[in-house]
Structure formats: structure tokens, C-alpha cells
Subunit: 548 residues, 2 copies
């Protein structure tokens, strides 16, 4: 009987075919050809796809009973933005942690720690970050006893604001086996009290003593983390994310959310290496799932490390470390074999390369694959941060996507100059040069390394300044993008990098109605204000997933 009723309901729902008409919008999209197109109305089908956009003055499409009509009240309507390089689960786990960055004293931090532990009784470990004993005016590091006084029943592990030190309570020190007899590993330091007893703070490489022993998050924590990440993602105006380095556990969680209708962003997943592919979909990429909200599409590989830690692999030594050229992660042969296996299985390769030697190595490997896969070849280099000027044109020649993160440039600007020197900066964060050469750019944030807000990225791309307006003239301003170019990178460029140019990235008939409403029109405000744009609403497939 219940089944019969349900069948009847299904028939009714099918018959309704409700459309949604948005009127009175200050609408804007780039078209597939890259032109700016303005519109005042948008008609969305019940399937969540755009039926039409209509200019101001056009007559309103006739609606039927059951259709929806929404007045945008003149607000700016943009296509949803796509972050071409983020880490969804890390964003979520980070969001769940105790945030001590706004504490002004040890006592304040202690109170916050106590309240957080009480509010989260199910957490097996209390994790947090953001403390700074300097801004507290403490004159010393905090101690295990300072934490024990608040939480003694579970390990507490709190990272310093710069991520270079961890503050443990006694339970965490015990878990890590850190005693008076423990020697700090190379590159690390254990703060000590009387008789060498560990005081509670572990610096740099010594942090691993505790970190490696912390239990992995439970299923409930992982679910809460994904829910938190999706909330943040929607709130900053992202409707799609290219998730770099997905393991089997995260993938199954994404599926659980998809199965339950809780995926409020499109996640284009890149497996964490071949091992994750083996566990998730070893034979070929999955199809697009859940109305094109999830796909295991590619594989994330690593060719080198990062610039700050001098792990980026350079053709010549570091300017500030003349004996060091960084880290080559893989031999040429091994890299080629891995990238070849990825493409052979039908996966897209997305390879992390920061230094100019790593970029050259990956481009060389891709050059061998290109003729094999022809039109189907669409691999990516993630970061493409320091590229030999001689190699810049090869992105365009090979059709390799340059997946870059504008906020990295404005965060790294001083450090990058120290590491590689003025000469090599010519090919560093060289977005305008890449575009001029005909390369495809996809923009992202690398969240949670940088904040996920894409308006921060648009701002950095256009101004080449940080959000304090530094440097006033913009850092290597010649490599700045126009706002339209930057928007392209966060929409159609990212869509192309994610093999989804026919599905998302612009508001055109047949594409998904993924869009955002903004508190101001980014096209008319001073570029320095771009990062202040607030997202009022976020819609995915014609359904609202966030409202401010």
C-alpha cells in the first residue's frame, strides 16, 4: 500500500516540471567564447539546468502554475565559482578544530580550550591551532601543565599560529612517548623544564613525535568535517571544487553524502596517487555521479616539494642556499610510467610541480604522452609556480593546463624572491605570460593552505597585492590578470581543466544553473575592494544551498 502511494507521488512530481524564473538581476556571465554577456532574467528548468538568460527589456517568459518566480532586486548574479585546486577534507577538519588565533592571553586560550573540550565530548583528541605566546605577552611558551589544568582526560595538541610548533598536554606527551630521555629528531627541538622533563612545546621536526601517534579521526568526525567544508565552500560562492588527493575513505564519505542528497558542491576528485585509484575505481574513471556533482576523474601526483621549505626542485641552486637544488621526488622514468598509467586507464593526470626543474620534468613526460592520446590529452600541472622562461610556451604547445593559485603569489612574494632571486622570478607566478602564450589557466586557492574565498583569489590575480594592499604598486604587476581573465580562470578555465566545459562555468542554456548572488558588482568596484565582496546566496543546479 505504501509503495502504491509512493508511486502515485512520483507520478505527480514528474508531471509538475516546475521552472524557476529569476527576474530583476544584474546578471553577468562569460560565454563559451569568453565574451561578457549581461542579462536581467534567467529561466531554470526543473532539472536544474539553465533554459535561457534574457536581457533587460525582454518580455518575461510565461510561467505555469507551480513554477517559481524570484525577484533578485537588482543584485549582481554571477556564475558559481570553481576552485581548481583545494583539499576538501583538510578544510573541514581544520574548521572543526579549536581556533585560538583570536586569544589575547594564556588565560583566554585556556578558557576557550576548556569550553571546546566540554562542547565536544565525543572527540578522542582535542586539536587546535592559532596560539601565539608573543601576542599573549607571556614571555615564555605555554606548558603541558597549562593545558592539563583545562583538559587532562584526552590528548590535547595545539599548533602555533605559524604551524612550526605544537603545544601538548601531558596525555599527548605520553601518547607520543616524549620523556626526559627522548632526543629531539634532526630539525626539531623539545622544550624542556627541570631535569630535561619535556615542558609541553615541540618545535618543527619534533612535532612528529606526537602527531604520528594521534589516532585518526573517527567516522563521526569525518562526517562533521565534510559537512563543515561544504558549508564553507557554499558560503564563499564556490559551486565546484577540484579536490586534490582523495583517498578511499574520503571518497566513500563523499558517496555517502551523494547517496543522501547532501553534496552541495560539485567535487571533481583527483585520487591520492595510484594506490587510491586501486581502491576506488581501478579500471577507469567513474561516470559523473549525482547529477554531475561527483566524479573520480584524475590522479594527483607529486614531482617535487614546496618553495618555503626548499623542497621545490630547481634547475640551479637556491639563491639563499647555494648548495641546494631542492628535492626531485621521482626519476624521469618512474614519473613517465606513473603518468602513462594514469592516462592509459583514462584518468587525467594532475601533477604537482613547483620548481622550474620539476615543471620541466613534468612537461617532458607530458610531451611523450601527448601524441599517444591526441585530442583526449588534457593533463595538468598543479601550481606551475617557478617555471623557466624557456618552458613557459610549452604549456600552450602541449595543451597542458596551468593550475595556479593567485593568493600563493601575494603570500609568497617576499619568500619567493629570497629563494630564487630576481632573475628566475621572470617565470614565477607568470599568469599573464602564460595566457599570452596561449596556455589554459585554471585558478584556485589550495585551501586550506590559503583561505577558500575565491574573491581573495580574484583580488590577488588582478591587483597582485595582499589584502593589506601591499605592495602598493602590485608585486610584479606585469603578470596581473584583468578581472575578466581572472573570472575566466575561476569559471570556464577551471571547468575546462576539469573536463566539464560543457556542463558548468557559464550561465548558458543547457549548463547547470550554478550561480551566486553578490552584495556588490565586482565589475564596477575598485579592484582593491574585490576581496571584500560578500556572497549573499549560492545556488547549485537551480537549488539554493547557501543564504547569508
Amino acid at each position: 500500500m505504501r509503495a502504491m502511494v509512493m508511486a502515485a507521488v512520483a507520478l505527480l512530481a514528474g508531471a509538475a516540471e516546475a521552472k524557476t524564473l529569476i527576474v530583476n538581476a544584474n546578471g553577468m556571465t562569460l560565454t563559451g567564447e569568453g565574451r561578457v554577456q549581461r542579462f536581467a532574467m534567467m529561466l531554470v528548468g526543473d532539472d536544474g539546468r539553465v533554459l535561457a538568460t534574457l536581457p533587460e527589456g525582454a518580455s518575461e517568459p510565461k510561467l505555469e502554475r507551480g513554477d517559481f518566480r524570484l525577484d533578485a532586486k537588482g543584485r549582481t548574479l554571477w556564475p558559481g565559482l570553481i576552485d581548481a585546486h583545494g583539499h576538501v577534507m583538510s578544510l573541514g577538519f581544520g574548521a572543526l578544530q579549536l581556533d585560538l588565533s583570536d586569544t589575547r592571553s594564556l588565560a583566554e586560550a585556556q578558557a576557550k580550550l576548556k569550553a571546546y573540550a566540554a562542547a565536544n565530548p565525543a572527540l578522542k583528541v582535542i586539536r587546535g591551532r592559532g596560539w601565539n605566546q608573543v601576542s599573549w605577552g607571556l614571555g615564555r611558551f605555554p606548558t603541558a601543565a597549562d593545558a592539563d589544568a583545562m583538559v587532562a582526560d584526552r590528548p590535547v595538541w595545539l599548533e602555533r599560529v605559524d604551524g612550526h610548533a605544537g603545544w601538548a598536554n601531558s596525555a599527548a606527551l605520553r601518547l607520543g612517548g616524549v620523556t626526559a630521555a627522548t632526543k629531539a629528531p634532526p630539525g626539531g627541538r623539545i622544550e624542556r623544564g627541570v631535569k630535561g622533563v619535556p615542558a609541553g612545546v615541540l618545535v618543527d621536526a619534533a612535532m612528529g613525535l606526537v602527531e604520528k601517534q594521534l589516532p585518526p579521526p573517527g567516522a563521526g568526525e569525518a562526517e562533521a568535517a565534510l559537512a563543515a567544508a561544504l558549508k564553507i565552500i557554499a558560503s564563499v560562492g564556490l559551486t565546484g571544487v577540484h579536490d586534490m588527493g582523495v583517498d578511499a575513505g574520503s571518497w566513500n564519505l563523499y558517496r555517502n553524502f551523494g547517496d543522501e542528497g547532501r553534496l552541495t558542491a560539485r567535487i571533481t576528485a583527483y585520487a591520492a596517487g595510484l594506490q587510491a585509484v586501486e581502491a576506488i575505481a581501478p579500471l577507469r574513471p567513474t561516470p559523473w555521479l549525482y547529477d554531475e556533482r561527483l566524479r573520480l576523474q584524475g590522479i594527483k601526483f607529486y614531482a617535487d616539494g614546496a618553495l618555503g621549505s626548499r623542497g621545490a626542485w630547481l634547475k640551479a641552486p637556491y639563491s639563499d642556499d647555494p648548495k641546494n637544488r631542492g628535492l626531485q621526488f621521482l626519476t624521469d622514468t618512474r614519473l613517465k610510467n606513473m603518468l602513462s598509467r594514469g592516462n592509459f586507464l583514462g584518468y587525467q593526470d594532475a601533477t604537482h610541480a613547483i620548481g622550474d626543474a620539476a615543471n620541466a620534468q613534468v612537461l617532458d613526460a607530458y610531451a611523450e604522452l601527448k601524441p599517444v592520446y591526441g585530442e583526449r590529452f588534457r593533463n595538468r600541472i598543479e601550481h606551475a609556480q617557478v617555471v623557466d622562461v624557456a618552458d613557459l610556451r610549452r604549456f600552450a604547445e602541449l595543451g597542458v593546463v596551468a593550475s595556479v593559485q593567485p593568493t600563493h603569489a601575494t603570500s609568497d612574494k617576499a619568500m619567493a624572491g629570497d629563494r630564487v632571486g630576481e632573475g628566475r622570478l621572470a617565470g614565477a607566478y607568470a599568469w599573464a605570460s602564460l595566457l599570452r602564450s596561449g596556455a589554459r589557466l585554471a585558478l584556485g586557492s589550495d585551501f586550506p593552505v590559503e583561505p577558500p574565498n575565491p574573491f581573495f583569489g580574484l583580488h590577488a590575480a588582478v591587483t597582485r597585492q595582499d589584502r593589506d594592499g601591499q605592495p602598493p604598486e602590485g608585486w610584479r604587476k606585469a603578470e596581473a590578470l584583468t578581472l575578466v581573465q581572472a573570472l575566466h580562470g575561476f569559471t570556464l578555465g577551471a571547468a575546462w581543466a576539469g573536463l566539464a566545459e560543457g556542463k558548468v562555468g557559464s550561465l548558458e542554456a543547457g549548463k547547470w544553473a550554478d550561480f551566486i548572488l553578490l552584495d556588490r558588482d565586482p565589475m564596477t568596484i575598485p579592484p582593491a575592494e574585490l576581496w571584500r565582496v560578500q556572497v549573499l546566496e549560492t545556488w547549485v543546479a537551480g537549488r539554493r544551498v547557501f543564504v547569508k
Copy 2:
């Protein structure tokens, strides 16, 4: 542009709403109330669900352009059968192996081995079974050299027809580290030649020496196995299977098939213990996926072993082993904790219990859970093979499903008598007694332990004979079922056991149009012929998935 065309196609498809009318059928279903209902026509909606069944002489529903009309030509049409206890991947892997059961000489087996190896170059190991040196008239066991002459480049591992011996080539012996110095483990024997050199055959417990070292199947093999299993399942008239003991790898493969539209049977999955649940869906069961073709619904637990190997846990010693009561796998407390955790997460518990002590233990544990979960309580005992007569009524009292396999009885009949003696047989394979007491029965095969053909099960349930007609009077015939009772067990009973009584199990409006066409009418043929019924076509959700 392509996206626009696709959107247009989608609209057209939605508008079509094609129905399928089957006419001139000798149709039969049980109704939800368990009555036999006959019909001549069935109307199926485009969504794959039954719209109506109509009796002979009723006027034909009016069809529209684009609808389908199929003439069943008087053939018998039944609801699709559901196996309440099978092992899908094992069925598939078994089907892929080299089958030597029809070989009449060593030379013939060797030729078949060589051809199979040549036809399957990607297999890392050649696996097979079914050889019998007695029927070959060989007068000795085959040797490693006999196999080496055919395949030397890869391990070869061939099980004897009874599963109690394995024939290895030299590569397999090397892999297992089996040398002249190797001692056979307790309960095992290594056949040896001169100077104790292993000859090639390993018996019983010694088989593990090689088996444990064989590499797990690759992804391509697993995919081929699932495809083979689904083909077999459809060919024997099964439209649904309760898959007992699914690990994370198999689950992901099922999802890959579901994503690609290749799931031709409904798989109700029971995770292989709590570890598999952790990996697949740790917080709660998945929803029904792929138009109700897949769900992680329950957890398979084990309370004891099997009767043949005297692992079944008995209240009193084995009749043929007076010091042995079998194996208790779990303490009462641990079993209760596990079953409680399953229900707490929302999963159904399906617990293997063969011996009367194991059945009593599980019933005791369920009795504690029943009041906690009330109406939502619907746990199962798998096999319920030897039950203390005093415990039989508790299945009905507690609402515990007895998930039994009729072919086990006719295969085990002689052995079961030896193991437990005449007295305890009163509560063994006691299907009619269970039904009389008001218990819910779900029938299955335990494939590949028994063949997956549900008509073998219907035959065994009704006749209590094996397929050679033994014993002529039926084994403990008082416990036989009527054909309608047995059909109920393979349809509505299995559906109820799988929490799907509103979805499948009968051909009634609103349920899925899962049905089969048969070469004869099981209701009118002699019961002894039931196992000979051939399935001509199998349909799932109104789409044909098998035709003979």
C-alpha cells in the same frame, strides 16, 4: 552545444513515458497477503514499476504511440526469484576458473589447462578445480611436472573435485615455499616423490601452504568475476540476491557497476563484519541506490562454524565425535556487543548459526535487542540448521527471520544424521515446523557452496530429495514445504528478510516489474521435475536482462 542537445534529448525522453504491456501470459504471483493470483496481462510503467496485472478476458489497456506490447505466447510468467543468502563475488571468481570436472583423462585435463592459460594471458595465477584422478583411471595423483609441461611461467593451482586436495605446478610450490624440508601442518599431507620432494598434490590443511601465498585477484579479474556472476544470476531467474559478507573492495566494484548501469540484479549487501562497515558506510546504512538495486543494509556475523567440519557449536557433543561440541566463536558478551552495535547504527544483523548452541546463543542476544528496537527489529539467523526443538518457537516469538537453504538439507542429509543423530534431527532443517510456529522463512542457496539455481531450491524444499530422486520417500518429508510456501520463501519471504517487502517479491501495482518467463508451469508439473525448469527470460525493473 552538445550540452544543449543532451538537455533536449532528456526532455523528449521525459515526455515519452513509454509503458510496456505484456499480453497472453500464464502469469502468477503471490500477493502481499500470500494468496496465489493469476493474470494474463501486465502493464509496466516507464519507471520499471508494475502499473497493473489483469486477468484473462479483461479488456486490453489502451496504449499510446511509443508504448511497447509484448506477446508472452502463453508462457509462464513468475515474479523474479530472490536468493536470501549467496556470495556474489565467490560465484563470479568460481565461474572464471578452469573447470576440469568434465575431463576423462590426465591428457585431456592437461590440454584444457594449456588452452586456458593461453586464452588468459593476463591472469597472474591459473586457478581451477574439478579434477578427479579416479575417474581419469590414472592410478596415481597428478604431479607438478604434469602441470609444468603445460604452464611453467605462472603458478597453477587446481582443486580436486571434492575441494580436499590441490594440484600445484612447480611455480605454485615455490610460491608456497613447499620443499622437501617442509612439514605438513596438522590435518594436512604433502604428497612426496623420491627424497621427500613434494610431488605436486597437497591435501586438506596442507593446501593452505600454497593458497595463502597466491596473490589476490587484480581489478580486471574482479570486474570479470562480477560480470560473470551477474550473468549466471540472471540466467537462473534470480532478480535479487542477499549478498552475505561484502568487503570494501567488492562494494566499490558494485558501485562502479551501478554507476555504469551494469547492475542487472538487486544486491542487498551485508557487510563482512564491522570492519567492512567502517570502510563503507560507518555511520548508517546507505540509502537504496540505482533504482533500488544496491544497498548496504546489514552486517554478517558468525556465531559458529559448519557441520561437515564439526565446527558447528552444539549443546551436546557430536554423535560421531563424543568429546567434541564444535566451536563457539564468540562469548555471549562479545556477540551481544557486536549485534547491538549493528542495530544501533541502523544496520540489520544477519548472524550465521548452524549448531543448536549457536542458534540459542544468537536468539538470546536478539531477545535482549528486541525490546530496544521494537517494530524496527528485524534481524536474521543465517542457516538455522540444527535448532533445539525447544528453541524453534523463539524465531516466531522474537520476529527473527530464519534464512535457510533447502539444497543444504538434501546435500547434507547423510552427514547431518552422522553428526547429530536421529534425536536432534527433529529440529534440523525444520522448515515446516518453523512455518507452523509462525516464523518468517527466507530461502536461498548459499551459492557457490550450492548451485545458484533457485529451482533446485524449490525442488529440494518441496520434495526433500536430491536431484537423483534420493531418498525416494523424501528425507524427513514432514518438514517439506508446499510449492506455494517455497515460492513465498524465494519471493515475499526473502523480500521481507531484506526489508524490501514494499518493493519486490510480488507483481503488484507499485512494485518493481522484476519477473521471469519459464519453459513450463511449475504449478502443474510433477514436483520431481521442478529442478528442470528452464528460465527463458529475466526482467529487472521492466527491462530484459537475460534471454535464453
